[in-house]
Amino acid sequence: MLEGDFLQNSDKILVKGQTASRGIAEGTVHIATDENLEIPTEKDFILVCKQTNPAYSILLMKSKGVIAEVGGIVSHAAIISRELEIPCIVSAENATSILKQGQKITLDASNGIVYE
């Protein structure tokens, strides 16, 4: 799929953020917190969190993409995502409350948007 395919679906945008690592991923939402860093059983999950600390690294390694509410282009989530070459957006306001656990989404990090 091309990035342009998604740009036409602007009516389905759920969340916007700042591009931290370019790319597109499809998967199910997995909301993680500092208190719950369990690795989900779903293989194709997109990590959604407020912000990360070093303990999130294993989750990041196993995720298809990352959406973080807080942080910028030099935050953990951003640095690790670029290292792993997985899409990531940061400063995605209210992502953990708008997106629901298990929801199927498309993360178009190149354009900083999340679609249903």
């Binding site: 370019r22 500092d34 860093l37 912000q51 990360t52 600390n53 070093p54 303990a55 690294s57 294993i58 990041l60 390694m61 807080v70 942080g71 910028g72 282009i73 030099v74 935050s75 953990h76 951003a78 640095i79 690790i80 670029r82 290292e83 792993l84 070459e85 940061v90 400063s91």
Partner: protein, 352 residues
């Protein structure tokens, strides 16, 4: 431009990138309590070393260039300027001279581009980089695993160094141009100091080294070791090495997964441990991490590298208040950069 202008320009570039991390707290929540004592200690150590050693000998007492850069922007300039404001001692001239002395060490240690203004952090000469290219047994079959290995090692450095003081345990240098659009990046993770701060930490190799050769695109490194890659960057070849008791051993592809799992587990345990520490203990560990930066200098001078008793006194008296006082730095990245530049310029007194 002189060295101090170059240094400030480089800091401005690094600080204009938004959104650093705040784990386990904002850096200033930890260091504000003892920043003047740490800066005075760094100034004293440098002055004493200069009486007995040449600049190249002193430069060798820092394991990385980034460590010197972090000392300047972490404690040295701001700490002394705060002190100057309160007691008129040391003078702005002394602070500027001390800053220049650290910049001189940086210029000795870096083979070129000491202020990262060209987007590099070069610790190796061209011939040294070519020697690595020619003598290394390169691998290319499990690129995903090496990327994860790099991430897990970085997470170790962040977990043991708090996010702010990871330069005690990690250095990224390069890019070294090898021709034919091939660039070498060296990532070194030095864990032999971990137990100085965290004596109960599990055994780790003294060092992990990852050599990564990229094709196409461009990688840049800034004053804060932030790296930025253009999207067309491709990892071509890599080599992983562990160092134990001075002996280097190549890590084979089939060993990487085990290392990733082990490192990730240690990171989780360390983060949990830090999160459970009382605030004053978090600050005490932060003080150890700050003073660890000049451990080799202290060792060479025959002194204890650990914080003096005055630091503990400060932590007891002011630690909680400093922790609870919130930073009011502006949110706009350019405003953040300007905010810090005024504080990092050793030639200008603080007005607030």
């Amino acid at each position: 431009m002189n060295d101090i202008d170059d240094y400030l320009e480089s800091v401005k570039i690094a600080y204009s990138k938004p959104g650093g991390s705040n784990w386990p707290a904002k850096g200033r929540q930890i260091s504000n309590t003892f920043i003047t004592l740490a800066a005075l200690n760094q100034l004293r150590q440098l002055k004493e070393a200069k009486k007995a050693k040449t600049d190249p000998e002193i430069a060798d007492l820092f394991w990385s260039t980034t460590q010197i850069r972090y000392i300047l922007t972490g404690e040295f300039v701001i700490g002394l300027k705060i002190l100057e404001q309160k007691s008129k001692k040391p003078s702005i001239e002394e602070i500027s001279e001390g800053t220049q002395n650290f910049l001189n060490l940086l210029k000795i240690k870096a083979k070129e581009d000491p202020f990262c203004l060209k987007g590099s952090n070069k610790l190796l000469s061209k011939s040294q980089a070519e020697e690595i290219e020619n003598s290394t047994k390169w691998q290319s079959s499990n690129k995903q695993a090496i990327k994860k290995a790099v991430v897990s090692a970085s997470a170790l450095a962040w977990a043991f160094g708090y996010d702010t003081y990871y330069t005690n345990f990690m250095e990224i240098h390069g890019p070294y141009e090898l021709g034919e659009e091939r660039q070498l990046i060296v990532r070194e993770y030095k864990f032999d100091w971990v137990k100085e701060v965290w004596p109960e930490a599990p055994e780790l190799p003294d060092m992990l080294k990852y050599y990564l050769i990229y094709g196409n695109g461009k990688i840049t490194l800034d004053w804060e070791m932030h790296h930025d890659e253009s999207s067309e960057m491709t990892l071509q070849e890599y080599a992983a090495i562990k160092v134990i008791d001075g002996k280097e051993t190549t890590i084979l592809d089939n060993e990487l997964e085990e290392i990733i799992e082990k490192n990730s587990q240690i990171v989780r345990e360390q983060v949990d441990k830090v999160n459970c520490l009382p605030i004053l203990d978090k600050i005490r560990k932060g003080a150890l991490l700050v003073f660890l930066q000049t451990k080799c200098l202290a060792d060479e001078l025959g002194q204890d590298w650990r914080p003096a008793k005055e630091v503990e006194q400060c932590i007891l008296e002011k630690g909680l208040d400093n922790w609870n006082s919130t930073s009011t730095k502006p949110k706009d990245p350019n405003a953040v950069a300007s905010h810090w530049i005024t504080r990092f310029d050793p030639r200008v007194a603080l007005n607030d």
